[in-house]
Amino acid sequence: MFITDIRKEFYEVVANQRVALLVASDIDALCACKILQALFHCDQVQYTLVPVTGWQDLSTAFLEHKEQFKYFVLINCGANVDLLEMLQPDDDSVFFICDTHRPVDVVNVYNDTQIKLLIKQDDDLGVPSYDDIFRDEEEEGDDSGNESDEGSEPSGKRRRFDEGAIERRIDRQRAKREWEARRREILFEYEQYEYHGTAASMMFFELAWVLTKDTKDMLWWAVIGLTDQWVHDKITRMKYITDIATMQRHVSRHNHRNEDEENSLSIDCMRISFEYDLRLSLYQHWSLYESICNSCYTSCNFKLWTLNGQKKLQEFLADMGLPLKQVRQKFNSMDMSIKENLRDVIAESSMKYGMKDIRIQTFGVHFGFKNRFLASDMVHATTALLESTEKDESDGDNFIKALDSLSRSNLECLHAGIDQAKKKLMAIQQTVASCICTNLILSQGPFLYCYLMEGTPDVKLFSKPMALALLSKYLLKAFVHSTRNKRCKLLPLIMAAPKDVEKGTVIVVGIPPESETSDKKNFFGRAFEKAAESTSSRTLHDHFDTSIIELKTEDRSKFLDALITLLS
């Protein structure tokens, strides 16, 4: 069931209990977790934090903790399956689910005792009404009576009903069949597309606010969570702008509160500010030139993988009147005079090059005097740490590192993340360029398909779901900019990359078509399930996003064939 009063129905319930926090591996979940941890610290709530990377992980974590815990908080996992069916918990386990995955499973919505959804009801949920999908069992029982299985032995005795009764029965049966057909239709409609709702971190920030325990740190985490949804293309532009506006109200409130205090000038102060800043990844921690080259928006618009594109970039820089020497050196070392109104200069020239959306509403933060970060910087850095492939560290270690990088006491960690993020962005850019230049994107009819071969540079990086999803998004954007085939511009993309060479598996990601007005609804989850079922391909649907699966390498072609038939 949906919780309406998050304080009474959630926080006050768990406040004096021991709680198991099961947290998915994405940045929004980490941020939500940070906020909740901070609240729990305040109120001395005992909790155990368990990172979970997929459904199997979640089941194991539950089994390991179900004896000691009654209350489970699931962050960014659990809403889109019938959780009770999957975990088979005892009657007294209670699950609080704060998850952006949509659609929410109907059983979760209508279970009143064990499933508590920390999900805003004003989100565009479209849950079918109870009467449309559930029916009291009792009513169904006697219906089948006379119409026994065809071909079975006839009954030894038969009662004669009056005509009216037979008619009524037939009417009822027909109504039931119609109802069932309608139910199937409604559920199909409802479950057809996967998409994301309001960030979990925003939900928990709201909780903190309701409790009047919200701090600037929490606010910043909520901002990062929201930005993660934007960077990883989980929500529409509209939704992003709306939520940014919500956050901005909180930011103003906080800034106002501390306006006249000394605080704002101290060395360890923290200041969050609304920015209308450039969509250039990490540019304040890089050189402007490299940032332009490795940002999706600019790279695609210039088509930097072509000679012509490179030429255009030079023209663009010349147009702005920025000397190459300045542009290529570290942003921090650029002349103050250039930096002063850099954003306006870039925005102005961008307009001429058809990049009217070079700026976007976002937030920045100052830690003390020296450190300044944009929300998207944080997202890239933390993601890089979370999916780090540099050392052979476990998912758990990466999780902790990523979580730590969100604390402002751990700037070192954050900077390490920024370095890794730069490498990752460059790898993505190079891979995009090589895929486009060597025509690796194939049109399969109903969708585009790209397979990264074993041995491609940085292929290990793309065995991770978020990295592969980001690559897919950049690649699809680049493809849409480079192809002349109008039909292909409207197609979704499936990307596959080697996951585990020893086990012979690939990771497969499906993303919706690229367009300005895209609703970001993804139908690949259902399609993957169906295709796997019909071909009995050996697949693993373990990821919380159903549009990300693992597949045996040998089964790839039959799986794809089935998908093509299914979607054509």
């Binding site: 079975s152 005795k157 009662r159 009056d162 009524r168 109504a175």
Partner: protein, 519 residues
């Protein structure tokens, strides 16, 4: 929604009976129902239109008592009216009782019996000058007899049997048909009630109603009643009764109505389910070719009992089985084996296993008619019950077939398939498979191809499985597995077997089965 209408209707009756608004509403509702019937319920209408039954719609039966009246009619009122001397009151009470007994949920069977109304109803059956009363009473008794065995017993003990048999001769078809129905319910109660009916000479009275003019609906009821008279064992119906009924059943089996065909086939399946002498009676009527034909009927409700009948017949003597084979059962069986419904597959596999238990001439016919491929398919992919029958077919085949026949069985892939089945849980099935493997080895022994077969079984993973089975809890399985290992896999493991030499005419190979098992 219709359900809503029904509840509304009921509410209306309870709360506002006699009040105008409620009545108006009810009328509106019934008009609604009419409209819906008119355009939505086409298929049902069709069925009703072609029903040539003599049973009229209830509304047309008798003077109309409004529906309100019935629903407030209490058992007490019914008792009073039924015991009244006035014919009209009796009719009214009887109809009210019948309506209560015809309602869908919780018909008051016991209440009516406890009220002592059965003997009154039975006496009404004899009132030839009161057809409405006769009909209502017959219907009420029919529904009481449709209850549990106890209910039926009460009807029998109230003397209904002779009364109904006399009623069969009624000139009013719908009354006669209701009597047929009631007798069917009594016959369906079990051997004892059935034999009481037969003692009372129900059969000639029933058969007398079959004529070229009899409506289809009437014939359906009658066929069903006949099938109930053939039904139940311990004891089975007297031979004389069977002989009386068979010619008419054969006649009915040549009609085309699917309901009649279905019940007639079920009747035959009951009659053929027994001793060989019983089967003989059926086979001698010459109906077997028609049954084989009906095995291919597109209606599941016809093909199932036809298949069951044939299955019964091939479980009889070799001559009886041969009669089925001569009628072409082996030509149609492959398609039936591949029927989408698992229960049909199982039944077909069962029939096949019985044919495979016959002499080698019949086994040869089985091979010639192409039954091995569907058999192997079922061994591989059938559901478990089908697989069990298929395994029996293989074992029967290997124990009765010639060496050549066993070789072709192995070549068809059956050996591989049963070896794969050695991992099932069912001990009986495992034993039957081990038996089959042993039989195949005995055939190989006669050919002097034992080593080659040992190698093949090993390649198919059979040796590993059989070795595992030596650890089985079941003593018999352990012994059978142990014996196989002892006899065919011991000692000469080191000896090299010449696989390539084809000195003999027969070579054990799985012809078109790939030998690779890697993932």
């Amino acid at each position: 929604m219709p359900t809503k209408n029904v509840t509304d209707e009921r509410l209306g009756k309870f709360k506002n009976k006699g009040k105008d608004p409620a009545k108006l509403r009810e009328k509106r509702i019934s008009e609604c129902v009419e409209l819906r019937k008119a355009h939505k319920n086409e298929s049902f209408m069709k069925r009703r239109n072609v029903t040539l039954s003599s049973l009229p719609d209830e509304d047309a039966l008798s003077p109309d008592y409004s529906t309100d009246a019935v629903s407030v009619y209490s058992i007490e009122d019914i008792i009073k009216d039924v015991n009244d001397h006035n014919k009209e009151a009796q009719t009214r009470g009887c109809q009210a009782a019948r309506k209560l007994l015809s309602q869908e949920s919780n018909p008051p069977l016991k209440e009516i019996i406890d009220a002592g109304l059965l003997s009154r109803f039975v006496s009404f059956l004899g009132m030839n000058d009161e057809p409405t009363l006769q009909f209502e009473a017959a219907w009420a008794l029919t529904n009481i007899a449709s209850g549990t065995s106890w209910h039926t017993q009460q009807v029998v003990e109230s003397g209904a049997v002779p009364a109904f048999i006399s009623l069969l001769a009624s000139p009013m078809l719908h009354i006669s048909e209701q009597a047929v129905w009631a007798l069917g319910n009594i016959a369906g109660d079990g051997s004892a009630s059935r034999d009481i009916l037969i003692e009372c000479n129900v059969i000639p009275a029933l058969l007398a109603r079959i004529s070229p003019d009899t409506p289809v609906g009437y014939l359906r009821n009658l066929t069903w009643t006949l099938s109930n008279l053939c039904r139940n064992k311990n004891p089975c119906p007297p031979l004389s009764a069977v002989l009386q009924m068979l010619p008419s059943l054969i006649q009915l089996l040549h009609l085309s109505d699917k309901d009649i065909l279905s019940d007639a086939c079920w009747a035959i399946s009951y009659l053929s389910d027994g001793e060989n002498e019983r089967i003989d009676v059926v086979v001698k009527t010459g109906i077997v070719p028609r049954l084989v034909e009906l095995m291919g009927h597109r209606e599941l409700s016809v093909m199932t009992p036809a298949l069951r009948s044939i299955g019964n017949i091939v479980s009889g003597s070799d001559q009886q089985t041969q009669a089925a084979i001569d009628a072409g059962v082996l030509n149609i069986l492959p398609q039936v084996m591949r029927h989408p419904k698992a229960s049909v597959q199982k039944e077909a596999a069962w029939a096949l296993s019985n044919i495979a238990a016959g002499p080698c001439k019949q086994i040869q016919q089985l091979i010639t008619c192409g039954l091995l491929p569907p058999l192997v398919e079922q061994l591989r992919n059938g559901d478990f019950k089908t697989q069990r029958e298929a395994v029996w077919a293989v074992t029967n085949f290997t124990s009765g077939g010639t060496v050549e026949q066993v070789v072709s069985l192995v070549q068809s892939g059956a050996l591989e398939a049963i070896i794969n089945l050695l991992q099932v849980k069912d001990s009986k099935v495992i034993l039957v498979i081990l038996d089959a493997v042993n039989n195949v080895f005995m055939a190989a022994e006669k050919l002097g191809e034992m080593d080659k077969l040992s190698l093949l079984v090993e390649e198919l993973g059979g040796l590993d499985r059989i070795e595992m089975l030596q650890n089985h809890d079941n003593e018999m399985i352990y012994r059978a597995a142990h014996n196989l290992i002892e006899k065919y896999f011991c000692g000469n493991e080191v000896e090299e077997v010449k696989v390539d030499s084809t000195e003999d005419a027969f070579e054990f190979r799985t012809a078109d089965v790939p030998r690779t098992f890697e993932f």
